[in-house]
């Protein structure tokens, strides 16, 4: 599973971080940092899917 970030849409609300803290982090500057390379690590598909679904502004897409 891959996750794509639309950097234009991302506003840093951080719901992805709440849903999948091992995969997404809002850093001290308020920017989204991906803690993986876009390909979801083994066993984290559910968290990744949760994060994609909960982003309130459609900034995340799953492939």
């Amino acid at each position: 599973m891959k996750v794509l970030v639309d950097r234009h849409r991302c506003e840093g609300h951080g719901l992805c971080e709440d849903a999948a803290p091992d995969l997404f982090e809002i850093d001290d500057a308020g920017e989204l940092v991906l803690l993986f390379d876009g390909t979801v690590p083994e066993g984290q598909d559910r968290q990744a899917a949760d994060a994609v679904r909960i982003c309130p502004v459609s900034a995340l897409k799953a492939e």
């Binding site: 234009h8 849409r9 506003e11 840093g12 609300h13 951080g14 719901l15 709440d18 809002i26 500057a29 308020g30 920017e31 679904r53 909960i54 309130p56 502004v57 459609s58």
Partner: protein, 393 residues
């Protein structure tokens, strides 16, 4: 696939359905994914998954032809971010969203916390107060006009304008019609504000005006965009803050839990917005036939996304009519909408709400609330008055 969509004679805009909406919403959910409302010429979409799916299908469920339930408003609002589709929508949102990201709002955190502390201190001294006027309205009014760059004159009209703006997003019934003179006053003022120099330099509004000077934004669309900042930033927040006081006052055990663990504050605010969605719903125009849970909604029709109902849908929520600040999936609510049109001001709403809940948690042992009365408003879940007393501790 269903070829005949059921109708209902439930009137969502009758006074009873407005002040006590949740029974009507449940009835609609039980009838089907889409239910035709003849007087309003719109399909009511009331279940969580269908609302979510429609909001995420912004091509099929278009905002560019308006999100209100009447044509005059839908025409008037064209050019706003609210009433637009990509690519124009994305261009606008990319400009107006800049000062509203949580990152951009950080610089205001200290100020907001200080203002919140001051407000709660004064309410503690006061004894009994009105949650709406003395708490929920006061705070947004003390921060938003300044951020927008509004001149001092004209601010007393703000609340009336915001309210009229939201009433007009419903059907053009008597209560919306009664608000038209107020709306016209607002549009006149917004056009005036679009003139360079009227808004405080460096403010969000002035930055929009500057963008038109620089040619990145069409000047003709400026009043609608200024409206994008002004109208949704007051009534909605007032609604959520009023509901927060009501609900936390009515659930003292949960209030104590929040005092003991501040990390509950964000989820508590989400649960407030889930439980009493400030915006009942907004509509979309179908640009193509679309299926929601097996029901086909035909191209050319208008569909009303009922956030207030989706947020109570038993198909998505366990015990939806129970207020629970520890609810695990509270943040999945659609009280801010969802998708590309998801509320661009939600970061600001959260900043205000969290600051106030923090102050309350620091200073207030007991929140005592009386009975609320509700305003009869087409679009906003609006408490009219709510007496309350805060006890220190």
């Amino acid at each position: 696939m269903t070829s005949v969509i059921p109708s209902t004679d439930i009137d969502l805009y009758a006074e009873e359905s407005i002040t006590s909406p949740y029974e009507a919403y449940k009835k609609l959910r039980d009838i089907g994914p889409a239910v035709w409302m003849e007087p309003y010429q719109v399909f009511a979409v009331s279940r969580y998954q269908d609302v979510y799916d429609a909001l995420h299908d912004h091509e099929g469920f278009s905002s560019g032809s308006g999100v209100a339930l009447n044509e005059p408003l839908n025409q008037k609002m064209k050019g706003s971010a609210l009433v637009s589709d990509p690519p124009y929508h994305d261009h606008l949102r990319g400009i107006m969203g800049v000062p509203l990201t949580p990152k951009a709002l950080r610089q205001h955190r200290e100020l907001f916390q200080r203002l919140a502390d001051g407000l709660i201190d004064s309410l503690l001294e006061r004894g009994t107060f009105d949650v709406v006027v003395d708490f929920a309205q006061l705070f947004p009014l003390s921060v938003v006009p300044d951020l927008l760059g509004w001149p001092a004159e004209g601010r007393e009209e703000f609340l009336a304008w915001a309210s009229a703006g939201f009433n007009a997003l419903g059907p053009m019934n008597e209560r919306a019609q009664a608000d038209i003179p107020t709306l016209q006053g607002m549009w006149g003022f917004m056009a005036e504000m679009a003139v360079p120099g009227r808004l405080r330099p460096g403010s969000w509004g002035a930055d929009l005006v500057a963008a038109t000077e620089a040619g990145t934004l069409d000047k003709d669309l400026l009043p609608a965009m200024i409206g994008d900042y002004l109208v949704p930033s007051l009534d909605t927040t007032v609604s959520a803050l009023s509901s927060a006081m009501l609900l936390l006052g009515g659930h003292p055990d949960q209030w104590q839990a929040i005092r003991a663990d501040r990390s509950l504050i964000p989820n508590a605010l989400n649960e407030v917005i889930r439980y009493e969605a400030p915006i009942r719903g907004l509509s979309r125009l179908l640009t193509a036939d679309r299926e929601l849970s097996g029901t086909t909604i035909p191209a050319g029709s208008r569909a009303l996304m009922l956030y207030g109902s989706a947020n109570r849908d038993e198909r998505h929520w366990d015990s939806p009519d129970t207020f629970d600040v520890t609810r695990a999936n509270a943040s999945s609510h659609v009280g801010f909408g969802h998708g590309i049109h998801g509320c661009v001001g939600q970061g600001l709403a959260r900043l205000e709400g969290h600051a106030l809940l923090n102050s309350l948690a620091d200073k207030v042992a007991t929140i005592e609330v009386g009975e609320p009365t509700y305003r009869v408003h087409n679009t906003i879940r609006a408490i009219a008055t709510l007496p309350a007393t805060l006890k220190a501790g």
